[in-house]
């Protein structure tokens, strides 16, 4: 299969062994990838951000807990409506596709995920999750650091690919090799003399003005990648139906890119609107339905195209929400939340116990699993990376994979 060879070449495998002098393999990290099997090198991670603070308690519901129903007379999900998945847990009624994945052994759920001294600001807490460092003023993202330390020998300016308009901090790094785009149709350019002049105007000529050099690099990358992205989407084989909404359609683009063997290791897609301070019930139902149907289509699509084994999906949100509802049928910012894992070798089931609603900190849950343990496990076991180096310290590996 030719496309596979193409992908490996882009991911640096064939190209490196053919062109890089042997001695580099012993001296630097350049060929670090060579210790991995070909299958491992093909692996892809899809990070899904639920922006605004997803209400974990109404997503994966401790439905037998009376304290839950007592704290949420209006916002809580009735027992008879929730989708039971385990003795202690049920899923939100609008997440039928997630339940199917769960039943099929394809969905892992991590409960009570958070970090010490939780910050309840959207922005600070998002930064903490994206940097995976608790100290302020960290300017790099955890995947950005992974690209830097583990993918040095890989030839690709689009190791990361994000659908959205504001570049995610997760990919941030001084030598950022990630691309952010809203709509792939934008990458269509005038041919002829205007197009040629435009290419020339965007050739990199370092000036010492950091902002100008950054713009030149982005401009040059954009024009270089335009054709590749257009081609990837043109030859798309996907036949699965996706809902006609932004998040679902973004996942469809990601599936097309994965199937087209573009040189990308990590994808990033956002679903926003989870900041449900008022009239939560209807809004949250719509969001979870989009999440569930989007992921359902995505997993089915990858499976039918034969790419599910090499794809892992992981969701995160900056925080969960306050246990007790407020007066406007909403919930305020809270602490620990839930993460979903799907695809690849995910070990289905619930990782982590029930949230303890009788032991709260100022009305908020106490976290039991540090999110950096989840990242560490993904880095170590899925991306075969040096997790300690990327995260700065050692975190417990969790049994998330079979």
């Amino acid at each position: 299969m030719l496309p596979k060879i193409d992908r490996r070449k882009f991911l640096g495998v064939g190209a490196l062994s053919a062109t890089v002098p042997g001695f580099l393999g012993k001296t630097g990290r350049l060929l670090a990838d060579d210790t991995k099997s070909l299958a491992e090198r093909d692996r892809v991670l899809v990070v899904v951000q639920l922006a605004g603070g997803n209400d974990g308690l109404n997503t994966v519901i401790p439905f037998r807990d009376e304290a839950y129903h007592k704290a949420r007379p209006k916002v809580g999900i009735a027992i008879n409506k929730s989708l039971k998945i385990a003795d202690d847990f049920a899923l939100h009624p609008e997440t039928g596709e997630l339940r199917k994945l769960y039943d099929a052994g394809q969905l892992g759920i991590v409960t009570n995920v958070g970090y010490p001294n939780p910050n309840r600001s959207h922005f600070r807490s998002t930064e903490i999750w994206e940097a995976a460092v608790l100290e302020k003023d960290t300017l790099t993202g955890w995947i950005g650091r992974y690209f830097d330390s583990e993918c040095r020998g890989v030839v690709s300016p689009m190791l990361g690919l994000q659908l959205g308009d504001k570049p995610a901090m997760t990919f941030a790094h001084a030598k950022c090799r990630a691309v952010t785009l809203t709509n792939p149709s934008l990458f269509q350019w005038e041919a002829g003399s205007v197009g040629q002049a435009m290419d020339r105007l965007n050739k990199v000529q370092t000036t010492g003005n950091d902002q100008l050099d950054f713009l030149q690099r982005t401009g040059n990358d954009t024009l270089t990648l335009s054709k590749r992205i257009r081609d990837a989407l043109k030859d798309s084989k996907t036949s699965t139906e996706y809902m006609p909404f932004n998040f679902s359609q973004s996942l469809k683009v990601v599936a097309q890119m994965i199937a087209a063997d573009v040189p990308t290791r990590v994808y990033y897609v956002s679903l926003g609107g989870f900041d449900t301070h008022s009239t939560q019930v209807g809004r949250h139902a719509g969001l979870l339905q989009e999440l569930s149907q989007g992921l359902g289509s995505f997993i089915a699509d990858l499976k039918s195209m034969g790419h599910l084994d090499r794809t892992l999906v992981m969701t995160f949100s900056e925080f969960g929400r306050r246990v007790a509802e407020n007066e406007q049928q909403g919930t305020d910012h809270g602490t620990a939340g839930v993460m979903f894992l799907a695809g690849g070798p995910v070990k289905a089931g619930i990782h982590g116990g029930r949230p303890d609603l009788s032991d709260l900190d100022e009305g908020d849950l106490k976290f039991k699993t540090d999110f950096r343990s989840v990242y560490s496990t993904v880095l170590k076991e899925w991306l075969k990376a040096d997790a300690k180096k990327v995260l700065g310290s050692e975190f417990k590996t969790l049994p998330l994979f079979v």
Binding site: S121, T182, L212, L215, T218, G219, P244, H277, E290, Q328
Partner: protein, 522 residues
């Protein structure tokens, strides 16, 4: 202060590129002939003295809710009212974006619009979370009226404006369980900034701010709506009104002070907090672009803030006359915001332009939809403006401005889902079909006016158009304030103008300049 400022035409060009959406070489010469201090003082005075722009025609005082549900309202009427209100809101939002863009493009006091834009990204409201358009206008008017006034007054006006009351859920926040949304953002994003408060302060402020709602103006005769109607279907008006019975009248402790505080006390405390002076200073520095590694400029601005009890004109004057602002490191290093890029291009190219929804979509596609920031923090600015996607939109700008064509991909790939679809298969299909039709109609509505833009080469130069390619390119680079082109940039432009011997060399050169990395900087 210390190091002085060399005030010359280049410095004047720099100043105008940040405060006026740019200025011409001729204007720069004129400014440079007078002292910097006088120029800045005059700019601020003119901005403050200019009359307010006329409100859009659809703004009504008092606003009337056409969606109220009374006992005799039939379900069919209710649906129809809702549909009409939705259409009205979409139309008004489009017109509002155009209204402001037109104002920015035409205004004789661009500094006032720049400051309004600054506050628009500070005191935010997301249009996508609002169900009526009028508060977006009244908030904007409040920002403009107080843009260079007193911070405490600005904060008061914004806090009790319908937009903020609705957006951050202070409307109907009740003593029984106060809503913390506004209280948190008030501290984190609007005044003292993160790191300068405790969770306890948020909870106490939320208590102090309970009891506010939106109602018809006092004395209006009201007809009771059905019981338990959601707010959108029973709200009688947009006048901020205090409902004492819902207010928590007890003692609160905020930043160490204890008292039976209410809204005014909270605003006094936070506006007068020393961290607020620094926080506002920092944000202005980032917006107008000055390199201030040791925070010395910020501290001088904070001192001016405190000394003048929050006089924003004084604070801005410190910034615009500082040596940091005019230092080499501060020049041509600020990534233009999409609005600055579009408005600046229209002004500097002297385009004959009337804003249309398609023109407004240009900045949205670049990541800055007016009245609809990505979240409550506003637009982060700087390098966050630039990704492959948004830079591609910037490089498509000439097609919009010179050819009047909207390139593909200026809208997101699809819309967001705002509610759950019904479980029943046929009801779901039916709803999806209607959503699709609705969206097609929305797009058609937005695109129906196309672009109303005309380019005239003769209007780009103050004098005659230079004949030689080199002089023409140099003239245009100066006109479009590209102050430090790379050698290759100039060479490529000259060659393109020479080689193509086009019918309109000015237009070709302008088109190409807009597609350079340099043009993205001010």
């Amino acid at each position: 202060m210390k190091a002085g400022v060399t005030w010359d035409a280049a410095a004047a060009t720099h100043l105008m590129s940040r405060t006026n959406f740019g200025g011409t070489p001729k204007q720069a010469e004129q400014l440079a002939a007078r002292p910097l201090k006088d120029i800045v003082a005059a700019m601020i005075d003119e901005a403050k003295a200019a009359p307010s722009p006329k409100a859009p025609a659809w703004v009504r005082e008092p606003w009337v809710n056409t969606e109220r549900v009374y006992p005799e309202t039939t379900p069919a009427e209710r649906m129809e009212n809702h549909r009409k209100a939705g259409e009205r809101q979409t139309r008004e939002r489009n017109e509002l974006r155009c209204w402001w863009l037109d104002e920015m493009i035409r205004t004789a006091t661009p500094l006032r619009e720049a400051m309004t834009l600054f506050w628009h990204g500070h005191f935010t409201t997301e249009a996508k979370r609002m169900f009526v358009a009028q508060p977006l206008y009244t908030q904007n008017a409040a920002l403009r009226a107080n843009a260079l006034g007193n911070f405490r007054e600005l904060l008061g006006a914004v806090t009790l404006d319908a937009a903020m009351l609705m957006y951050l859920n202070m409307e109907d926040s009740d003593a029984k369980k106060p809503n913390e949304n506004f209280a948190r953002e008030l501290l984190e994003l609007f005044t003292v900034g993160i790191g300068n408060y405790a969770e306890k302060d948020i909870k106490e402020i939320a208590r102090a701010l309970t009891g506010w709602t939106l109602d018809a103006p006092e004395g209006t005769k009201k007809k009771p709506t059905v019981a338990d109607a959601p707010r959108a279907f029973c709200r009688d008006g947009l006048a901020p009104t205090f409902a004492k019975e819902k207010h928590d009248g007890g003692e609160k402790t905020i930043f160490g002070q204890t008292g039976k505080f209410g809204l005014k006390d909270v605003l006094e405390i936070v506006a007068g907090h020393p961290a607020t002076a620094k926080f506002i200073g920092s944000k202005m520095i980032a917006f107008f672009g000055a390199v201030d590694p040791k925070n010395e400029l910020r501290d001088r601005m904070a001192t001016a803030f405190t000394k003048s009890k929050g006089n924003l004109a004084d604070v801005l004057a410190v910034l615009l006359t500082s040596h940091e602002f005019f230092a080499a490191a501060s020049r041509a290093t600020l990534i233009k915001s999409p609005v600055q890029l579009l408005v600046g291009s229209c002004r500097l190219l002297n385009l004959d332009v009337t804003a249309t929804p398609s023109l407004a979509q240009v900045t949205a596609a670049m990541g800055q939809e007016l009245f609809n920031p990505p979240n409550v923090k506003g637009w982060p600015g700087g390098r966050d403006w630039i990704s492959s996607g948004t830079l591609a939109v910037r490089y498509h700008l000439p097609e919009a401005l010179f050819d009047g064509k909207e390139p593909a991909g200026f809208e997101p790939i699809a819309t967001d889902r705002n509610f759950a679809l019904p479980a029943d298969e046929s009801a779901r299909r039916d709803l999806l079909k209607r959503l699709k039709e609705f969206d097609a109609k929305r797009r058609e509505e937005r695109k129906k006016d196309g672009f109303k833009v005309a380019f005239d080469s003769a209007k780009v130069f103050d004098g005659p158009v230079p004949e030689k390619a080199g002089a023409l390119v140099d003239g245009l680079l100066a006109r479009l304030t590209v102050v430090a082109p790379r050698a290759d940039t100039r060479a490529t432009l000259v060659e393109a103008v020479d080689k193509a011997s086009p019918a309109d060399p000015v237009k070709l050169a302008c088109r190409l300049i807009l597609m350079t990395p340099e043009y993205q900087l001010s």
